[in-house]
């Protein structure tokens, strides 16, 4: 399983998530569920970038809190602003 989780598959997954987000936004059913999917896809891509591309997995807790905290705060704020 560990061999499947590497930078190559992460890159492919991020490309697929991007394509899926585009199609959901363009030809999907629309509505809040579709938009939530697009936002969650962005969140997942952000986690991949921070964890595996920036290589913050295993660094001090402070820096992980700063980076993941930024991502979560931004995504949750956007979700709240869009879905209230």
């Amino acid at each position: 399983m560990k061999t499947l989780y590497n930078v190559h598959t992460i890159w492919l997954l991020m490309m697929l998530l991007t394509l899926a987000s585009y199609f959901v936004g363009e030809v999907g059913p629309g509505g809040w569920l579709a938009m939530l999917f697009v936002l969650v896809a962005a969140l997942v891509k952000g986690i991949f970038i921070i964890r595996d591309f920036m290589e913050l997995h295993g660094v001090s807790l402070l820096w992980r809190v700063i980076m993941y905290g930024w991502l979560w705060v931004v995504c949750i704020s956007i979700a709240v602003a869009y879905f209230i």
Binding site: W11, V38, L39
Partner: protein, 194 residues
């Protein structure tokens, strides 16, 4: 039997120069505030934002996202290459990343040309003010990221980095990934979510 207390595993060091991480943090703060202000302003102008968002070229936005994600992946490969002392391969991957960034700049310029030719500017309406200022601000960061990557590629070609000494490559990579991270949020926020 070993009676010594268990030791906590030591945290890994941040890749690259520590100073770049403070810079990245400041940049993310600015973009984060920008994103949240955009989302809040949209609440008061939902119809306007939805109407003018439809005028954006989402296909170019999609292509640009794929280009930036790929460029980030190429930078990861460059870091992996130099860690294995493959300087030539590192340079190759950095050039590939620069090509991705260059593609982004070309497509974005086409997009801006389309908008500016139609007479659209920062003062057209609130949506375009945010669209242009956010994306142009990011555009400038892509240019800076490319300049850093190019400088590192030139140094790598001259043999300045090795498997044991490659902080410069990691520093440039960290900055480039930040540029990618920001776009990964910006694209759905401005182009897709409505």
């Amino acid at each position: 039997m070993d009676s010594s207390p268990p030791t906590m595993p030591e945290a890994k060091l941040l890749p690259g120069d520590l100073a770049i991480w403070f810079f990245i943090f400041m940049e993310l703060l600015v973009f984060g505030i920008f994103f949240i202000v955009y989302a809040v302003m949209r609440i008061e102008n939902i119809e306007l934002f939805n109407e003018y968002q439809q005028t954006l070229n989402r296909e170019l936005g999609l292509a640009n996202t794929l280009l930036l994600i790929s460029a980030s992946y190429f930078v990861v490969r460059a870091v992996q290459a130099i860690r294995q002392n493959h300087a030539a391969s590192c340079v190759y991957w950095l050039y590939a990343a620069l090509a991705g960034g260059g593609g982004f700049l070309i497509l974005k310029s086409l997009e801006y040309n389309e908008k500016f030719s139609a007479g659209i500017s920062l003062s057209t309406n609130t949506f375009y003010m945010f669209y242009l200022s956010l994306t142009i601000f990011h555009f400038l960061h892509v240019i800076l990221g490319m300049l850093i990557l190019f400088a590192v590629a030139v140094k790598a070609k001259r043999g300045a980095y090795t498997a044991v000494s490659h902080t410069g490559v990691e520093t440039a990579a960290s900055y480039w990934h930040m540029v990618d991270l920001v776009w990964v949020i910006l694209f759905p926020l401005v182009y897709i979510i409505r």
